[in-house]
Chain length 190, copies 2
């Protein structure tokens, strides 16, 4: 078992002895998954919080027109889950799928409280991660309101040029909430 990125990420935020790491390992479920494999499907309960060691995930739902609407991407060192479904253990409206072959590490919902009791530092670590995620979500609301679709597109490619190379255009269009056709027009304009 090997999760070098996760362990070093944890140690950036909280102290973890080697013994703590050994204990932690008994609660982690690492997995290799193939491109297009699903970690969660609509109607299932989200059973774990997923850390991306390597690769790339997307979270999406099927909108009222039957199209896949992407709401989140997760790259290396990001956590991803449907936190409403995970917290309340109720059926999810989302899918989580690999868009590249990926290595992920799962912490199961039903083991999380026990793990946090044994390693209380994790409570702090996830408090920081959730606060960070929520802070990003607050800014996202602002950008979404404040910028036109064209401006949002330009902002995104300026912030994440490498990532734009990594995913198909139509997934970026979906995430940004515009049609592939209009994205194509924006690219042509410059």
């Amino acid at each position: 078992m090997n999760c070098p990125n996760l362990i070093s990420h944890l140690r950036k935020h909280v102290p973890l002895s080697d013994g703590d790491v050994a204990l932690l390992y008994t609660y982690l479920r690492p997995a290799s998954i193939k491109k297009k494999d699903f970690l969660l499907k609509e109607g299932q309960v989200c059973k774990a919080n997923y850390f991306v060691e390597k690769g790339c995930l997307r979270m999406f739902y099927i909108n009222n027109k039957g199209m896949e609407q992407i709401t989140h991407f997760a790259l290396e060192n990001w956590w991803l889950a449907d936190y409403m479904s995970l917290s309340l253990q109720q059926p999810s409206q989302f899918f989580i799928q690999a868009i590249e072959d990926a290595t992920i590490v799962a912490i199961e919902a039903h083991q999380q409280d026990e793990l946090f009791r044994k390693l209380p530092q994790l409570e702090r670590y996830f408090r920081i991660m959730m606060q960070r995620a929520y802070a990003a979500a607050q800014m996202r609301v602002k950008y979404h309101h404040d910028y036109s679709k064209e401006e949002n597109y330009k902002l995104f490619i300026s912030l994440f040029p490498a990532f734009v190379q990594r995913i198909p255009q139509y997934m970026l269009a979906s995430y940004l909430g515009l049609t592939p056709e209009y994205l194509s027009e924006l690219r042509r304009k410059g």
Copy 2:
């Protein structure tokens, strides 16, 4: 000093002895503020996390057309802050203002780590609060994408009918991302 709502809210999620509460009180800064008073202005660093004991707050920014764009409301038993500014102690792009006379309780950023070291339960409490807030933010992204403005308006008034009575229409319009004129038209239509 008196924060009954906050204490009972904490005790819903973590154990707190009377001694813990006494210690906690030394870190809480309660305040009564008047309608239209500000807790945060653009350019300032967000210095505290605010709990609403009574009343109602809004968070907004000035958009590129010079209009106030509301991004969050906070009623009784909600926490509100610009978490990006609070976490990184960098200048905020937001305002936080009372829209009714309000009683709030502040936990100052510069005391938070010390408080959490003395009462580690709070780390868990805020992990739960932040996860809940982020979960709500994930759902908000979905609703925002999936529903038309008219559907979002109808959803909001069906979910929060009492709140709709409490705030001016133009603030609801701002929050929902539509013009007061269009909201007026939607109301007329039924």
